[in-house]
Every structure is written in C-alpha cells, then in structure tokens.
C-alpha cells in the first residue's frame, strides 16, 4: 500500500466526453489523492481509456472540469470564462504527467537509452551527460541496465513496456497514467511489468491504472473504480469492491474476470 495523503492530485468534476453523437463519458466525478494508486476497471468500451486520455489532454473533454495538482487541464480560466490553451501550454502541462500505453509506443528508431533520454533533453533542455546518467539509473530500476543499447524490436514485449515506464519516469512526473499496460503482453511477461509498477507505487507515485489485472488491483491499489457505459458504477477500497460488489453490473463483470 502506498502512503496517500489528503491533497487531491486529480479532480474530475462532472466530466463528459462525446465523439459526435456518441457520449463516451457521462458526468464522471472522482478524486485521486497525492500518492494514491487508483485502478480503473470495466468492460471494453466503458470509457476508462478515454477518461485516462482526457487527464493529459490527448482528448478534449466536452464538458465538466478536470484538474491535475490544482491546475485546470487544457483551459485557462480568467474573468469567469474559459480560454482554450495554446499547444505550448498544453505541452507544458503534459510534462508533469507520465503516460504508459497498451502498445508501448516506444520510438523504434532509437535505442532503449535514447528513448529514455529523448524527452528530458528536447523538452526540458537538460544537458546530455546528466540525462544519460539518470536514464541509466532508471533503466536499472526497471531491470534493464544491460539492454540500454538495444532497439525496441530486439526487446520482448515486457522489456519494451518497462522501457516505456522508464521513459515516462525520466520526465519526473507527479502523476503516472497507465492505459492497459499489460494487455498486449504474453501471459508470462505480465508479472515483470506489474512488479515494476508495484515498486513505483511503493515509492509513493500517484498512479491511475486502467487494467484487467484484478490481482494487481487488490494488492497494490488504494481505490478501485468500476466503470461501465461511460459512468462510474461503483468505487471504493479494492478488496471490498472485488469481494463484495454492491451493484448488479459490477457483480456480473467480476464473475467473468475473477
């Protein structure tokens, strides 16, 4: 369990998102405290990935407020009106929010080390020597010190995902988003990625994890949110939600995955 304190890191207030006439998120309100690990579970198409992508403004919310560390995402508020952010300002907000994708999305033309070094050098403008030392430490932290000079194509899926985690950590984010990080992995490679994530949680990182790994949710998460059809159906302490679901839809879903 990670040490959660009381400052909210992410606050979603009646967040909705539509693609055309298709309403994917319907008035989602939730709060993630600093240092908390929240797992989002639910059937595919329930809107959990979309919600995650709204948090770092990869998707623009249709209505409602979404803020990270007290800062409104994607908009500036002045004189009681909202102003759309310039791309530059949105990019600055994203620096502090790490994201890990289902399909890893490593840069295939760069080695593992170059993948990790890219953003700190280009975005933060840090010196190469310092960044490299830090990148090697991060790769060691995810157990890949010896694979630093490998291209992604020569790494297994689990190794690629661990590099992707190191790449996100290199920006020293205050929040980490995981979008089904183990769904594209062979079953025997899932464990190594979850181990890295568990260590990260233990170190006090605030994390929102979209996952189907109920074991991970039970063991690592401080809170669990079950979503279906774009709404939060049920949320609470993972062990309680998983062992004693109150809602019929939660029960039906859990009976299939557990």
């Amino acid at each position: 369990m990670s040490a959660a304190n009381d400052t909210p890191m992410v606050v979603a207030d009646r967040v909705s998102k539509s693609f055309g006439s298709n309403e994917v998120l319907k008035s989602i309100s939730l709060e993630v405290k600093s240092g908390e690990v929240m797992c989002l579970v639910g059937p595919s198409g329930s809107g959990k990935s979309t919600f995650l992508r709204c948090i770092n403004h990869l998707e623009v919310v249709s209505s409602g407020r979404l803020s990270v560390d007290g800062e409104l995402i994607g908009y500036r508020e002045a004189n009681n009106r909202l102003y759309e952010m310039r791309p530059k300002e949105a990019a600055r907000q994203r620096r502090d929010i790490g994201m890990v994708f289902q399909r890893f999305n490593l840069f295939p033309h760069m080695t593992a080390l170059q993948n990790v070094m890219e953003a700190p050098i280009r975005v933060k403008g840090l010196s190469k020597a310092g960044v490299e030392a830090n990148a090697r430490t991060l790769l060691a932290r995810v157990g890949l010190a010896e694979r630093a000079d490998y291209y992604p194509a020569h790494l297994s899926g689990g190794q690629q995902q661990r590099v992707a985690i190191a790449r996100a950590l290199a920006m020293e984010p205050k929040l980490m988003l995981f979008d089904e990080p183990t769904s594209a992995l062979d079953p025997e490679l899932v464990g190594e990625v979850l181990d890295v994530m568990q260590n990260l949680a233990r170190d006090g990182m605030t994390m929102i994890v979209v996952t189907h790994e109920m074991g991970f949710a039970k063991e690592v998460a401080d809170s669990l949110v079950f979503m279906d059809g774009g709404v939060v159906v049920e949320s609470g302490v993972p062990t309680e939600v998983l062992t004693n679901p109150q809602h019929a839809r939660t029960q039906a879903f859990l009976s299939k995955v557990l």
Binding site: R94, F101, F107, E118, R122, D149, Q160, M171
Partner: protein, 328 residues
C-alpha cells in the same frame, strides 16, 4: 546399437537427394545469352554506332562540362523540391484549412500540367513580367530590375524543375508521414514534446524508410528530366549539348550513346547512395544486434529457465525469441 546411432547422427545433417532440376530455366538462359552475344557482336561491327567516335567524345571537355551542369541541375532542383515538398506535405496534413487548401491548389496546378509546358512558361517569364519590382502595391517600387537580368536560363531551369518536382515529392512525403503509427505521435505528445519536435525527432525519421525508395526514384527521374530544359531554352546540359555537337559532326548515334553512358554512370552512383541511405534509416528495424554477449547475459535474467535433472549437467533452455514482443 551405439554404432548405428552414431552413424545416423552423422548422416542426418546432409540429406542425400536428387536436387530438383529446372531444365526450362537453363534453356531459356542459354537462348538469352546467345541472343545478347549476337546483338553485341553485331553492334560492335555496325558502322552506324561508330564506336571510335563514342570513345573520342566520351571524355570531350564540352561533354564532361555538360554532364556536370546536368548534375548541378539535378542536385539543386532536387534540394529545393525536397524542402518545398516536405513543407507542402506538412501543409496538406495541417488541420488549418487555409494552409491545407493552399497546398492542394499548388499540387493541382503543378501536377496537373506537363513539366515541358511549365518549362516553356518559365522561359517566357521575362516576356510576361518584364521587370521584378519590390515595394508596396499601387506605389512606386523601391527596387526594380529587368527579369531577364535577374533570372538566368540556368536559374529558370532550376526553378521550373524544382517547382514541378515539389508537387510529386509532397505526395511521397505525405505517404511517408501517414505510414507512421499514430501511437508514435501520441507517445511524443504525452511526453510534452511540441508538434515540431514530434515531427522532426519522431515522425520524420521513421517516415524516411517509406520515403527514400520512391524519392530515390524521383532523383533518377529528375536526372533524366533535365534534358527537357532545352524548352526554356537552356542548352548547356548533357543532352542538348551532345545534340548540338552531332548537329555539326553528323555523328547522331555516337553522341546519343555518349549521353546515355553519362546518364547511366550518374544513375548507378545514385543507386549506390540510395542503398546506403536505406540501410541508415532501417536502424531498429533490421535484425542487427548490438552485442551478442550482453544478450546472453541478460537472457538469464528474463526469459531463461535453468533446468536441473538427475545426474545430467545443468541444461539451460534456449531463450525466448527476443523478437516475440509485439512489433508495430
């Protein structure tokens, strides 16, 4: 028992079997060789080819200078075409409708008319616009100079070739940019990289693998299209120069052979260059491994299961296929 086992093991790697024969393949190759040999023998004798004249003019200074001019035309116009093409491709992909339609109209005009016609137009530009004025509209110009002085035939040739080629390069570059997985842009954006950084560092390097083969094609095509600049008229490039010489010496066929040999020589060099460029941008895709030893060392950490059984020595199972991870 042990003997048979040993012999069986020995013979196993080399299977003795009658190899599949390809009689038609061989027959066809022989027939083809005979035809080619007859053609070459005939061509060597035929007076119309006049090989001594080919040898004489191949390294004639006028010809080698013209070959150099052709190379200059190709390189300069290609450089401009690539820069303009990349710009147009990015404009075409831009969400800004003004920028997008500008690029579309450019492509419509320059791809929709023959390059020869465009070159004739560029040649006439000095007649259509007799002076180039710099200043505000409806006021007296600050600077004004005659077009013919400012733009030589050489520069007009480069402009004409480059602007036409840019339209084709734009489509090649656009196809390349679209070939990169959208997850790459997302990952770069999520790291806080700007749109420009994402393009330059992530999208464009990956698109190069798709862009280079057709772009190489375009360079070779450009080398040959330079022979059309006689429409401007610009007469110092390889083809027009050799035609001019043959107009005086009446050695038409030998001069065509001379020009062809030079064109072939340049395209061969370009093809070698393309090979190395392709290799460079395939990094991370091919099966090049940085270090076999390091691979074995880390294999023990991840995918390898040591199996210990009975009185046998410890057997280490081969590592999992390192490429098994999902490739995009």
């Amino acid at each position: 028992m042990t003997d048979t086992a040993a012999t069986a093991e020995k013979t196993e790697p080399g299977i003795k079997a009658i190899r599949l024969r390809h009689p038609w393949r061989n027959t066809f190759a022989v027939v083809l060789l005979i035809i080619v040999a007859l053609f070459i023998a005939d061509a060597a004798m035929r007076p119309a080819y006049n090989w001594p004249a080919v040898g004489k003019y191949l390294f004639d200074q006028r010809i080698s200078q013209a070959a150099f001019v052709t190379l200059q035309l190709t390189v300069y116009s290609m450089i401009i075409a690539i820069i303009l093409g990349v710009t147009l491709a990015i404009m075409r992909l831009s969400p800004n409708p003004v920028v997008n339609s500008m690029a579309w109209v450019y492509l419509w005009v320059f791809r929709g008319t023959p390059v020869y016609v465009q070159l004739v137009f560029w040649g006439l530009i000095g007649t259509i616009y007799q002076s180039i004025d710099i200043g505000l509209p409806f006021t007296d110009p600050w600077v004004s100079f005659p077009t013919r002085v400012a733009l030589s035939a050489f520069i007009l040739a480069i402009i004409g070739l480059a602007l036409n080629e840019a339209a084709y390069m734009a489509e090649i570059v656009r196809a390349g940019l679209l070939s990169v997985d959208s997850g790459q842009e997302e990952a770069a954006t999520a790291l806080g990289m700007s749109w420009f950084q994402t393009m330059v560092r992530v999208i464009v390097p990956q698109s190069m693998r798709v862009i280079i083969p057709p772009a190489g094609n375009e360079v070779i095509s450009m080398l040959k299209t330079t022979s059309l600049v006689t429409a401007i008229p610009f007469t110092l490039e390889l083809y027009t120069r050799s035609r001019d010489i043959s107009a005086v010496t009446f050695e038409t066929v030998p001069m065509l052979l001379v020009a062809s040999i030079w064109y072939l020589f340049f395209t061969s060099i370009l093809m070698v260059g393309q090979y190395f460029l392709e290799k460079r941008f395939a990094r991370g895709i091919g099966d090049r491994r940085p270090d076999k030893k390091a691979d074995d060392a880390t294999a023990a950490m991840t995918g390898v299961t040591p199996v210990v059984g009975g009185n046998q020595p410890t057997v280490v199972l081969p590592p999992n296929d390192p490429d098994q991870g999902d490739r995009r």
